[in-house]
């Protein structure tokens, strides 16, 4: 929109940011929260830092620690990886809805193996429950400490 005296710039509205959700069983079990609570203070801060950075990053491929499974029955599942106390941690998740990421499973990862060993199997089961609507989601708050 222009005018003879001044120019008014119509800016593109800022893109919607990502939000992150924890998988919660219908029975009330909160596996992601329990896993998160079991992390050290440093580990919890790193997870929060990852979410704080990633929620503003438009393309998940550029998320810190992001790796996506592209083949087989794991297709669609991705993981957020980070190190804490010399351990490799993984948060397995899927996308569900517009700019919504759902965490299904938290685990360790070493030498190609997950701990617990059935982490991927559990994530797949939860993915199916999510697809059938047989779970609830709790939004994971990003702490800005303000």
């Amino acid at each position: 929109m222009t005018h003879n005296k001044k120019v008014i710039i119509l800016e593109v509205p800022p893109a919607k940011k990502w939000s992150f959700f924890d998988f919660v069983y219908l029975s009330g079990g909160t596996p992601i929260k329990d896993w998160h609570d079991s992390l050290s203070e440093y580990g919890q801060e790193v997870v929060n830092g990852l979410l704080k950075t990633n929620h503003k990053t438009e393309n998940p491929i550029n998320w810190m620690g992001f790796r996506k499974y592209l083949k087989g029955e794991q297709k669609g599942i991705w993981e957020l990886g980070f190190y804490a106390e010399h351990r490799q941690y993984r948060l397995l998740g899927v996308f569900s809805g517009e700019k919504r990421a759902v965490f299904l499973m938290g685990c360790y990862h070493k030498g190609g193996n997950y701990t617990p060993p059935d982490a991927m199997y559990t994530a797949l089961k939860r993915k199916n429950l999510l697809a059938k609507g047989e779970c609830t989601l709790h939004e994971r708050p990003i702490k800005f400490d303000q």
């Binding site: 005018h3 001044k6 120019v7 800016e11 203070e41 790193v46 929060n48 810190m64």
Partner: protein, 224 residues
């Protein structure tokens, strides 16, 4: 006790908590900055590794949160490869947190040395800055204070939107998010809330006075 109170309590009393808090932020933000700079070039990890004299696996590790304990020499080497500077400074927690909260990997950018006019031609840069300041001050001398703008789109249900407005240099900037956009039919009427100090400069505005509805300490003006 709230999460924040707990955190503050821990940070005040426990050195290890403070260290964990600082380290966690650096372990995410340094890898994120490295990735942002690399993607902005754009470079693959292999190309960056080649230019920095490192292995690709090391670049990959450095871009993984928490995997690498960075030392200054590594950061200096990477800054030199990216042709940017590096600052390591001690700051208050509030400043550290403010920087982290405002950080976005998508928008993070650092002017490379070859484009850094302030560094390469400081004298010319100073002249340009002075000229820009003069130009802006002559335009902005009006002292307009615009706090919000409401826009009515006639013909599309007469929806009214109240929008925060920033006056930046000599241009008005605002965001316009009509819920039912119909640009061909829409007639936009804008109402700007001005402070009482700004009345002397109304001639300079692209709006004609249409209503004198008082709004707070200011007056409203609109255009057709």
């Amino acid at each position: 006790m709230s999460d924040r109170s707990n955190l503050i309590n821990r940070l005040r009393t426990n050195r290890d908590s403070r260290a964990a808090y600082i380290r966690a932020k650096l372990d995410v933000l340094i890898p994120s900055q490295l990735r942002a700079l690399r993607l902005r070039q754009p470079m693959t990890q292999s190309v960056l590794a080649g230019e920095a004299g490192m292995k690709q696996s090391r670049i990959s590790a450095m871009e993984t949160p928490g995997k690498t304990n960075f030392n200054l020499e590594t950061l200096v080497s990477l800054a030199a490869t990216f042709k940017v500077g590096l600052m390591v400074k001690f700051v208050p927690f509030s400043e550290m947190l403010g920087w982290e909260n405002g950080y976005s990997q998508d928008t993070f950018n650092v002017t490379q040395l070859v484009h850094d006019v302030d560094f390469l031609q400081p004298a010319a840069s100073a002249v340009r800055k002075r000229a820009r300041r003069r130009r802006n001050s002559s335009r902005v001398s009006s002292g307009i204070r615009i706090s919000q703008m409401s826009v009515t789109m006639a013909g599309v249900g007469a929806s009214t939107y109240v929008i925060p407005v920033q006056r930046e240099r000599a241009q008005l900037k605002f965001q316009f998010e009509p819920s039912e956009p119909s640009p061909a039919q829409a007639r936009i009427a804008a109402v700007i809330t001005l402070s009482s100090r700004s009345r002397s400069v109304l001639d300079d505005l692209p709006f004609q006075k249409t209503a004198a509805a008082a709004s707070g300490a200011g007056m409203s003006y609109g255009n057709r």
